[in-house]
């Protein structure tokens, strides 16, 4: 693996994170009044028991982003904080740090999302390949229309319908949450089963509504590959139809499909954030939803930077693995 390819890819990774963090810094400051300061002052004026706490937050905040400081100094300090994943403290849950709240929720999101995306990717790719193959059973073609229609529906709306059908009406699955209320997360088999049980409906809503997308893109890839000379040649040589399908067409169509996986990441994550809200799943999406409702700005901005970081990292890994799968790319641009 040539070093300059790695360096270039790593530079792109840094640019994505930097751009995300920078927009995150300047956007709130475009507003006529600084919303964070307003929110903090409001928290102080509602005072009560937390009054001294809030004054402490305001003091920290003012010292941190002190209005006497020039903008570029504030910006440099902010970038330094992002590099150390320090997003300040939560306004709604005062003593906890925003980064702790987010890191606690992150494994839930990563687990649910990775599992659901991989299942959808595998099923959709297989289905798309079969759709483009003349020898596949006709039943599949009838199956594809409803799946494509499902792909036009946002994840979380399908999630709402599934909760109502499977959770509320049939009562076979829980209405939400990541585990049964009253139990504490612990590394036992029973708890693991409970977690999986709670994740089935959220995962199902992501899988059902994204299978069609993968199937459609794989089908397009297959149609292109089937026009290639080497597929015609393989057929002319009298190879078994199944071999031509699996070893000549599918293998070559699979590679661009992996690229789409990297490109679709942003869309997948946006949808998953809302799925979590619908299912009250204890992941980053729910943290974001609560933070928006309580105007907990540091947590909101922290979630945004963390998710951008996670996506940039996933893209980086895919980019590094991709040429290993496809020698034609050979780490060029």
């Amino acid at each position: 693996m040539p070093a300059d390819y790695l360096v270039r890819r790593f530079a792109v990774f840094l640019i994505i994170v930097w751009a995300g963090a920078t927009i995150n810094f300047f956007m709130p400051r475009l507003a006529p009044v600084n919303p964070i300061r307003e929110r903090l002052l409001q928290a102080v004026s509602f005072g009560g028991a937390g009054k001294t706490d809030m004054e402490a937050v305001v003091a920290t905040y003012e010292a941190k982003f002190g209005l006497d400081q020039p903008l570029w100094k504030q910006y440099l300090r902010y970038i330094g904080d992002v590099a150390r994943l320090d997003f300040g403290v939560s306004i709604a849950n005062f003593p906890s740090r925003a980064s702790d709240i987010i890191l606690r929720a992150l494994p839930w999101t990563l687990g649910l999302l990775t599992m659901a995306t991989l299942i959808a990717f595998a099923i959709g790719t297989l289905l798309g390949a079969l759709l483009a193959w003349p020898k596949s059973p006709a039943v599949l073609h009838y199956l594809s229309a409803p799946l494509l229609a499902l792909s036009a529906i946002p994840y979380y709306l399908l999630g709402l319908v599934l909760v109502f059908a499977l959770g509320f009406t049939l009562r076979v699955f829980p209405l939400g949450g990541g585990f049964t209320l009253g139990t504490l997360p612990n590394p036992s088999v029973a708890f693991a089963i409970d977690v999986i049980y709670h994740s089935i409906v959220p995962a199902l809503s992501i899988v059902l509504s994204s299978v069609g997308f993968w199937a459609l893109s794989m089908r397009g890839m297959m149609v292109t590959v089937q026009g290639e000379d080497y597929v015609n040649y393989a057929e002319a040589r009298g190879l078994k139809s199944r071999d031509v399908f699996l070893r000549y067409a599918v293998r070559n169509a699979l590679l661009p499909q992996t690229t789409s996986l990297a490109l679709a990441m942003g869309y997948v994550v946006s949808g998953a954030v809302l799925v979590e809200v619908v299912f009250a799943y204890p992941g980053v999406g729910t943290v974001l939803f609560r933070a928006i409702q309580t105007f907990d700005y540091f947590v909101i901005y922290g979630v945004v930077v963390m998710v951008i970081l996670a996506i940039a990292l996933a893209t980086l890994i895919l980019d590094i693995v991709y040429p290993l799968l496809d020698p034609r790319i050979a780490y060029k641009r």
Binding site: N24, E38, A152, P154, S270, V273, Y301, I308
Partner: protein, 284 residues
Amino acid sequence: MTRPSLGALARQHPQLTAGLVVVFLVVAFGPVGSVFVDTDLSRVGSAAANTSPSAEHPLGTDAAGRDLLAVMVAGTPLTLRIGFIAGAVGLGIGTLLGFIAGFFGGWIDTLIRGAADVLMTIPGLLFLVVLATSLQATVTVNMMALVVASLAWMIPTRTIRSQVLSMREAGYVQVARLSGLGDLEIIARELLPNLLPYLAASFVSAVGAAVLASIGLEALGLGPQNEPTLGMTIYWALYYTSLLRGVWWWWAPPIIMIVLIFVGLFLVSMGLDRIANPRMWKTP
């Protein structure tokens, strides 16, 4: 050659036809509905709260005393308006940038493509969350459209750029250049007419993406609080836990309407894609 009849055209492009019919029905729902339904009933407290569907309120009322049929009639056009404005602005910016990048190339191409690529990697919804939480004033429907439009230009930019790039070297463009046409004339007379099917398909996808983004933001509670858009209706339904209380007449109608919008737009864009890109769709 005789002109094919409308019926024959419809048979030739079944998806496009079905999609246009669905989109037309959704667009007509608001104006036609407002003839029969008093949209004033979509205001908070205009009816008794929490009633199930009845003759007086065909879709029942919600916890804040809104008649839900009136909410649907008033809200559907608002959501469509957000989608159309954001889609049009996004496509406009995208077409402009795509043409600049594809036609002139060089450093400006690198810059535009780089910006679009970086922004596409980042989930748009999160940026919109930051933008929407930073806007202190009450969000209006038009503001909502502009917020969504701010991230709706990347995909059109990339599509148009790659199309322009491949067309720039085509024979007829070379001929036009040799016959002394200027850059702007070539763009207006040769490139734009050829791009129309792509522009139409991009517009439909841009509207769909904008509706998706706006509903996502609204479901998080970041939409116009005083307007009964479809996304805000879902937010209030979630907020008042209508799902756990079995109040299906609250959350089901907006979902059905949103699904109709998406399926309609999806069919139209697939139909247009078949016209713009026939090779992809040869049935194997």
